[in-house]
């Protein structure tokens, strides 16, 4: 078969998915301004996406902070700059690692579950059943999740920043022997409010993005159990790669 055929087919699928996800997100977003307002579902999804993800995010942030401190220290020592370790670790975490790793962990834990749940609802006609009962399925299933993710992702990111920096502190100060005061002072010197906020803004975007992609893939899943599995894989891959691409674009915009 002509390789151009596959390339073309892949490109058309990419365009269709991108357009579909974009429209799906806006549809769900606009439904949040018309009743009924599903506060209870919003709280339930905040618990699922946020509270239940905190441990995996905390562990990821802790070890990422620790390994970052080790590697950066190794590089800084070569030209005697190890005193700025605290600042470098904090900048890396607040600007990039905190929001990106948090989002990827949420994709792995909650995003995949959202796709699987909605996909299963689709193939067992539960989504059609919602329609039949005169309940708007997008407003019921997607809108509260979008808001929940947009609220909890920044909170998880802030927690990841804090725990990651603590991990860096443990390695920098307690293991590698950098002075506590210098570690903190360099952090204060180098990290500005915008560094912190850029990570928070990114995480709000990532929250909406994760639910839009994972929700879309599950909502329109087809092909039985195998189709749900395929949709879940696609959702995780698209979300993870999309987060990294979006992170680059947002970084160039912010800085």
């Amino acid at each position: 078969m002509n390789p151009l055929f596959y390339l073309g087919r892949g490109f058309i699928k990419f365009l269709r998915d991108s357009g579909g996800i974009f429209l799906f997100f806006w549809q769900a977003f606009f439904y949040s301004f018309s009743p009924p307002y599903r506060v209870r579902l919003f709280i339930k999804h905040m618990e699922f996406i946020g509270v239940k993800s905190w441990l995996v995010v905390a562990l990821t942030a802790l070890f990422s902070g620790m390994v970052t401190a080790y590697q950066v220290h190794h590089a800084l020592v070569k030209f005697g700059g190890q005193s700025v370790l605290g600042g470098v670790v904090a900048l890396t975490l607040t600007r990039e690692l905190g929001p990106v790793l948090t989002a990827i962990m949420v994709v792995a834990r909650a995003g995949s579950a959202i796709t699987a749940e909605l996909g299963s609802m689709r193939i067992t006609e539960q989504i059609d059943a919602l329609k039949i009962m005169a309940v708007n399925p997008v407003q019921y299933l997607i809108t509260p999740r979008i808001w929940a993710a947009m609220i909890v992702l920044p909170l998880l990111t802030a927690m990841a920043d804090l725990i990651g920096i603590a991990g860096g502190y443990i390695i920098g100060v307690m293991v590698l022997g950098i002075d506590h005061g210098i570690f903190i002072a360099r952090m204060e010197d180098m990290v500005e409010l915008m560094d912190l906020m850029s990570g928070i803004y990114k995480s709000i975007f990532f929250g909406a993005f994760i639910v839009a992609v994972c929700g879309y893939k599950g909502y329109f899943a087809s092909g039985g159990a195998e189709g749900v599995g395929r949709a879940t894989t696609e959702a995780v891959v698209i979300s993870s790669v999309g987060i990294l691409v979006a992170d680059y674009i947002l970084t160039t915009i912010f800085f």
Binding site: P36, T124, E125, Q126, D128, K131, I132, M133, A134, N136
Partner: protein, 250 residues
């Protein structure tokens, strides 16, 4: 008096035309069986009646409005009056039977918690499923799931209920139980029932009217006695298959 009128309904999927111009009137407060072999588009036709599918051409009239022209928001009002019982029930698997039945009441009525509980018990009693109210759908048999779904469909007091193969996959005794239940509910609530099926024996026992869908059109319709005397080759073949089976068994 007819409650639903389908006019020249056409629907294709990709290049395959499933419905080629369906014309059918559904009389009020009667049981109409829509018959046909597998893959003839019976379920596709049913989904058009509640706006789950949009036709390529044609009209569906309900309460003096063509529902094929309605927006999704306008369709929500129609769907409160036309219920659909899915083949597998489509119960929410994260909710118990009672919560499933309470769902439409919580969504669309201002009933208090206690009133909803009473209504749920009444509906579950009507479908003889009250003892299973705290069970999850995964703990129910096929017949129980269909009865639970029927209770949920009844919750909003619809005027019409569409049944998508309600007896498929059930043993003969359970098939009779479900059809008796549908009949009882029709009588009790004054409902119009549209049943998709390919079970001729049940149709002759319970239908007030029958319609045969073949090759994308309704080829025969009328009361069971008219169907029995039909000269249409497809209907005859359908009837022969059942009577032949009975003869062989006899």
């Amino acid at each position: 008096m007819e409650i639903i009128k389908i006019k020249d309904l056409k629907k294709s999927f990709n290049s395959f035309q499933v419905l080629k111009g369906v014309n059918l009137s559904i009389p009020s407060q009667e049981i109409t069986f829509i018959m046909g072999g597998s893959g003839t588009g019976k379920s596709v036709l049913l989904k058009h009646l509640v706006g789950l599918l949009k036709p390529d051409e044609g009209e569906i009239w309900f309460e003096n409005q063509d529902i094929t022209k309605l927006s999704e928001r306008e369709l929500e009002k129609v769907r409160k009056k036309i219920g659909l019982l899915f083949q597998e029930g489509a119960l929410f698997d994260s909710l118990t039977v009672a919560e499933n039945v309470a769902f439409p009441l919580k969504e669309h009525t201002k009933l208090s918690k206690r009133e909803i509980e009473a209504k749920v018990e009444e509906l579950l009693s009507a479908v003889e499923l009250l003892p299973a109210k705290d069970k999850y759908p995964s703990e129910l048999s096929g017949g129980m799931r269909k009865r639970a779904a029927l209770a949920r469909t009844l919750a909003l007091n619809p005027q019409v209920i569409l049944f998508d193969e309600p007896t498929t996959g059930l043993d003969p005794v359970l098939q009779i139980t479900i059809m008796d239940l549908i009949n009882k509910i029709k009588e009790t609530y004054g409902l119009t029932c549209v049943v998709i099926s390919h079970d001729l024996i049940l149709a002759f026992k319970y239908a007030d009217r029958m319609a045969f869908l073949y090759d994308g059109v309704i080829v025969e319709e009328g009361p069971p006695e008219k169907i029995r005397a039909s000269a249409h080759p497809y209907v005859q073949r359908f009837l022969e298959s059942v009577f032949l089976e009975n003869k062989e068994e006899g």
